[in-house]
Amino acid sequence: MKQPIDDSSVPPARPSLSPKKNADVLQDLEAHFLERERQDPSSPYYRGADSNRPPQTMPRRRRFMLGAMAAMGSAGVHGVASSATPGAIERTVPPDATKVQGVGVAVDDGGYGARSQFETEVRTRYATKTTESSWSFTPLQNSMGMITPSGLHYERHHGGIATIDPTKHELYVHGMVKQAKKFSMADLKRYPALSRLMFIECSGNGLTEWAKPTLKTVQGTHGLTSTSDWIGVPLSTILNEVGLKPGAKWLLAEGGDAAVMTRSIPIEKAMKDCLLAYGQNGEAIRPEQGYPVRLFVPGYEGNMSIKWLRRLEVSDMPFMTREETSKYTDLMPDGTSLQFSFLMEAKSVITYPSGEMTLNKPGFYEISGLAWSGRGAVKRVEVSVDGGRNWREATLHGPVLPICHTRFTLPWEWDGKEAILQSRCIDETGYVQPTIKELVDQRGLSSVYHLNGIQSWKVAASGEVTNVHHY
């Protein structure tokens, strides 16, 4: 046993400030922070426009951010200057972390934490013709639990990521309403807020997989879905504020991005459970998720949850925008098309083991995956290791929430022989996730969207896992 540690026996890594000076520094920092916040209408410390100072401007905040970036840059002092993995700070790895002091508090991260330099999973972009009209997949293969880190949330943009000053952003609400209004972000944040854990999924998730297995990993086959804690104002609160006129049936939601993305939402859905979300996982939503505010339409195809929301127009009919006519409609074998196929139906996928992984040797493995349904809560998930001949009920890891990713697991003893792993989700309405064949029989091979069929992973005797179709 070593000597008990006594504070005085541990020399400080660098001369520390006296408690008095420490307090001064903190107060200075706080004063600067408050000075900034008091001029920011979106801050709880906002003092109003009667201040003698000019209104808060973005350059001021940007300088602050640059300062933070510079602080992060100084990590080179502490560590090796090399390319850190995205979202990480590259630090020198000592032979024994118990023999040297670690990195001081707020020394190199600018006050905003970074993930470990040893973690490398990132979103991957689908190779569309332009980067602005494109999408990126969440790395589900590394996912744990039910929540997607904000920085790994999947993306789908039609005109790039809009950069919007929240102090200048306004949301217009008009059309068949009693009093047309516009709302600043400060206005929106005055309303009673709520938070709700919900998945969102692009209806194009899996579009490459209809006819044959195409993408290799679960990131490619299923990565267009993510779960966050979304915080904001119920849309019904705002619609009650402006007052709907009789005959109001549809609502146009319009984004403030270069695509000026638009979708029509049925008014019943708008009043039922839609959210104007300005928060995500405990902080402001990310720019790529629609900062400063997005619409969130629970359980419906992701495209309807308009980002960078700038306008809502109430009408008596759908607007028939490009994204609800020429896109996001499902072409049937007879040449007709299904329109307004809003619902994201029950779906599940095994994330471990999944495509391109290798099981080194026979023995115990915990099968793990995600299940979700736009109709409500997941009631049951069943897993097969023999291509659907036998099914076992998986354990659901709570909380099991409606319209939310639900983690499931099943212990599995792999005997070293070829196996086909599948999962199927049954939701609280009794809907059972179909096979891909059942969907193809119903809808043909041209409908593009809404593939929620059962995914099959083949484990070869060698332990190699591959994406296969198996009915």
């Binding site: 217009y172 609400v173 209004k181 516009k182 709700r196 000026v260 196929s341």
Partner: protein, 190 residues
């Protein structure tokens, strides 16, 4: 002081949320906060003038702005604004193919995969005006005048054999254009 007020607001918010249970995270969370309306009075009234900056026509033509354009004018606009991405013959490139494809949508049709274009697939002519107006050209969205948008809309519809060469498109004529695939859409019911 401001913290106290904020706390009070938050408490009121929680009370409201509980009272109406609008989106409580339970498996039966379908009740609407419409059950519990409250007159907050936040937000500012807007004038009709302010709303003129927005264009979002309905399929029956309501909401279409003034202005007009001919096929001939549209050809010039297309050459300057659209051709680089959509091709000299509207065959597509970086941008979508715009014409052709009739008779390719059904499985029984011969000749490979379905070709979805303005001509073969789009059910409403107003959508074409709306989309070009708000999102095109890709490198300078919402930069074209209403006249130019009407004109290039007319040109694309003409090239798709939907309107005659001497047609003029405006807020009255555009919604009357009969799109070939108009009746092929039905609600999915899910």
């Amino acid at each position: 002081m401001s913290i106290t007020i904020k706390g009070a607001v938050a408490a009121a918010a929680m009370a409201l949320a509980c009272a109406g249970a609008p989106m409580a995270q339970t498996s039966t969370a379908t009740a609407s906060s419409a059950d519990n309306p409250h007159d907050y009075g936040f937000g500012s009234p807007v004038t009709d003038d302010e709303l003129k900056q927005f264009v979002s026509p309905l399929p029956d033509g309501r909401g279409l702005p003034p202005g007009s354009g001919t096929v001939m004018q549209g050809e010039k606009v297309y050459t300057q604004q659209c051709l680089a991405c959509h091709g000299a013959n509207l065959e597509g490139g970086i941008g979508d193919r715009l014409i052709g494809g009739r008779g390719t949508l059904a499985k029984s049709d011969k000749g490979g995969p379905p070709i979805k274009t303005v001509e073969s697939y789009w059910p409403y002519s107003t959508t074409l005006f709306d989309y070009i107006k708000r999102a095109m050209p890709f490198t300078a969205p919402n930069s074209m005048s209403n006249d130019d948008v009407y004109a290039v809309t007319a040109y694309i519809l003409y090239k798709g054999d939907i309107i005659p060469k001497d047609a003029t498109m405006d807020k009255d004529s555009l919604p009357k254009v009969a799109m070939p695939n108009r009746d092929a859409f039905k609600p999915a019911g899910r």
